[in-house]
Amino acid sequence: MLTELISKENFIIQQAADDWKDAFNIVSQPLINSKKIKPEYVEAMIKRVEELGPFINLGKGIAIPHARPKDGVLEKSMSLLKLEKPVQLLNQEGQEVNILIVIAATDNESHLKALQELTVFLREDENIRQLNQVENYEEFVALINNTKE
């Protein structure tokens, strides 16, 4: 499920981003291109962090930017950006993230299976360590498939 949503087109590895907002734009671009989300969904994700704080920061360098279905989701989708150099959410100390996973949900339930897989995956520090070493999409798929229960 996770690797179906995070398809090859929706998986990006990049050296660096200008800042956290730039990273949000980069990770969202494939979803905009394939008409899974409207451009305003990106603005909504940024606005939510500005209003509510960095609640999307899961810790350990991982963030899951997302807004609400009505903020411009056209089709359930996810994308992943891995940065070699972290960005700071809200430019704040201690908010360094280098893996951003956008969640675009069409309702409150349908994306939960993928999120469940992600949650189980992220429970193990070893998985996060290996995710940080992944160099291409094929390695990412292999890692996810290997760690499935």
């Binding site: 509510l52 350990k60 991982i62 899951i64 409150n108 992220l122």
Partner: protein
């Protein structure tokens, strides 16, 4: 029946992840779903009578004080921290 609710900004992502991890921990502790009910919600829809204990990430700490018994997490995916918090809660409530 003890009711634990995970809260986040949207109710779509992080609170669901926390709910799942709480359920996994309760299972490890041998606590059944008859004894403890776990749910997740967003900040806008959360009201004090929905749960006995609220679990929230650090950044929302100040937004949820009105809900009552609030426990704060530094990291959403740190299972060790969450295990400590949940174990403390179920001990306090004399479930284990």
């Amino acid at each position: 029946m003890l009711r634990i609710m995970a809260v986040c900004g949207s109710g779509l992502g992080t609170s669901f992840m926390v709910e799942m991890n709480i359920q996994s921990i309760l299972k490890d502790l041998g606590v059944s779903s008859d004894q403890v009910n776990v749910g997740h919600t967003d900040l806008g829809n959360a009201s004090a009578n929905q749960a006995d204990v609220w679990i929230v990430a650090k950044d929302l700490e100040n937004s949820v004080a009105h809900l009552g018994d609030v426990r704060v997490l530094n990291s959403i995916i740190d299972m060790n921290e969450l295990r400590e918090v949940i174990t403390e809660v179920v001990k306090e409530k004399e479930i284990i």
